[in-house]
Subunit: 268 residues, 2 copies
Amino acid sequence: MILSVINQKGGVGKTTTAVNLAAALAQWGHPTLLVDLDPQGNATSGCGVSASDYGGPSLYEALVAIENARAQNPDGGIIAAPLRPGIAKGPLPLLSVVGASPELAGSEIELASNPRRDGLKQIITELKNDFQFVIVDTPPSLSILTVNSLVAADRLVIPVQCEYYALEGLGQLLRTLEKIRRFLNPNLSVMGLLRTMFDGRVALSGQVSTELEKHFPQLLFKTAIPRNVRLAEAPSYGKPIAMHDKRSIGADAYRRLAVEVMSRAGVA
Amino acid sequence: MILSVINQKGGVGKTTTAVNLAAALAQWGHPTLLVDLDPQGNATSGCGVSASDYGGPSLYEALVAIENARAQNPDGGIIAAPLRPGIAKGPLPLLSVVGASPELAGSEIELASNPRRDGLKQIITELKNDFQFVIVDTPPSLSILTVNSLVAADRLVIPVQCEYYALEGLGQLLRTLEKIRRFLNPNLSVMGLLRTMFDGRVALSGQVSTELEKHFPQLLFKTAIPRNVRLAEAPSYGKPIAMHDKRSIGADAYRRLAVEVMSRAGVA
Ligand SMILES: Nc1ncnc2c1ncn2[C@@H]1O[C@H](COP(=O)(O)OP(=O)(O)OP(=O)(O)O)[C@@H](O)[C@H]1O
Ligand SMILES: Nc1ncnc2c1ncn2[C@@H]1O[C@H](COP(=O)(O)OP(=O)(O)OP(=O)(O)O)[C@@H](O)[C@H]1O
Ligand SMILES: [Mg+2]
Ligand SMILES: [Mg+2]
């Protein structure tokens, strides 16, 4: 199953969720691939992976190659991806990573000529058979890269920071997703909304959480990720929380989230 | 003086800084215009302004009008902006707001045909004479909208959250700014780096702050904005911190930041 972690609001915990959910799913025994579609490359460094770790073409080169092949064969329908991006071993046995690099930011221009926005989908289709889950981290925008991840995805995980601006942007995001479903990916659906940086001592967190429970009772994951400094420290060691501090409340929350994701995905 | 608040890393406090710095400059007696270039429109709602408050064209309509005028007159050199966007009264006497709206996200396509990326610069040039400071809030990306703000700006304020991922992205950002200076806006310079969400009880904050002091001693503002929940609450009331809770440590920090900005701008 291909899960994209998205929210155009910045800093809501997309990368932290993509890295730690992927790690927790791997620890539950499911081969998992983490794809970093954000030119900032935070998910890549959050797993301790650097560009030189993966042999083979970069994700950028693979995306460009498929658009070039399509341009040469415009009436050819669906094209198999000519290049498979290199895959690095992640920090856990069952976790692998397709890392990002800054030139990914330049791919917007190359990807613009494909109205179906399905370049990433073709690339992931070639890779996904070796994995139970593919988790895609995305940049904070509704750019062509992000739309590619929405077309590639089966389901979406939407982190929502328990603060005012994050709540405000949610309506606009859900309207955009409806358009994507109608015009580009009819199978797309939201798996769940995830409360992040929840701080029980702060009234604002509780107010936002109550609003989410009122408007999205079915979509909301039962697990809320607490604000936990250990989660913010882990990336500086290039490790998921499960390795940086497995006894922390952050690690426990992502383990519980993985259980909910497996259940909503119909996987034991 | 035109100041753009930028950082492609999401959630680092760009909007919080744009709104509260603009409000603090207005309280020090300087007529200030806040321009919201982020389609999310957080700075607009953070000031309690809604789209219906400003008579006249939207910023989107003004940006599109200037590009259309340019297309009809390609050899015409610099064009005066045909449309001035409507300006709303802000929550304080000397604070005015040019608000954002979601259709701004669609302007990327319209703005792409102008290689000089100076549409916003022309629009602000028509408005700036009535204001001592123009503060521009930007989305979390290096998109065409953000590049427009870099071409329009005299100086830049770069909020840096005191956490690992925010520090990691700074190098890439400064390299991009060097390219903008060389090719699009030779007068552009960084006014300062601003530490945000600084939490003295957390080792990570101190570590990031020490790194910033080591690498950017001249650029770093002396004022560090502390993590203060009152700053996160204020937008839900549509007010800057100076009005939501003027005795808070957040309000005090933005007052002190405004003093540093006035001094670096050479304004009493
Ligand atoms: N539950 C949490 N508790 C404490 N800190 C957190 C938590 N989740 C994320 N963080 C920290 O908050 C910051 C923002 O999180 P993160 O970078 O994962 O968000 P993002 O949505 O991926 O940002 P962007 O929009 O830039 O991609 C990071 O410094 C991260 O370490
Ligand atoms: N010093 C602070 N203390 C506590 N909360 C803060 C502080 N500064 C900002 N916040 C809160 O953190 C969140 C992120 O801040 P903000 O939205 O200003 O960042 P941004 O860089 O504008 O985000 P985006 O990248 O989405 O534009 C918001 O909910 C805001 O209210
Ligand atoms: Mg991220
Ligand atoms: Mg913002």
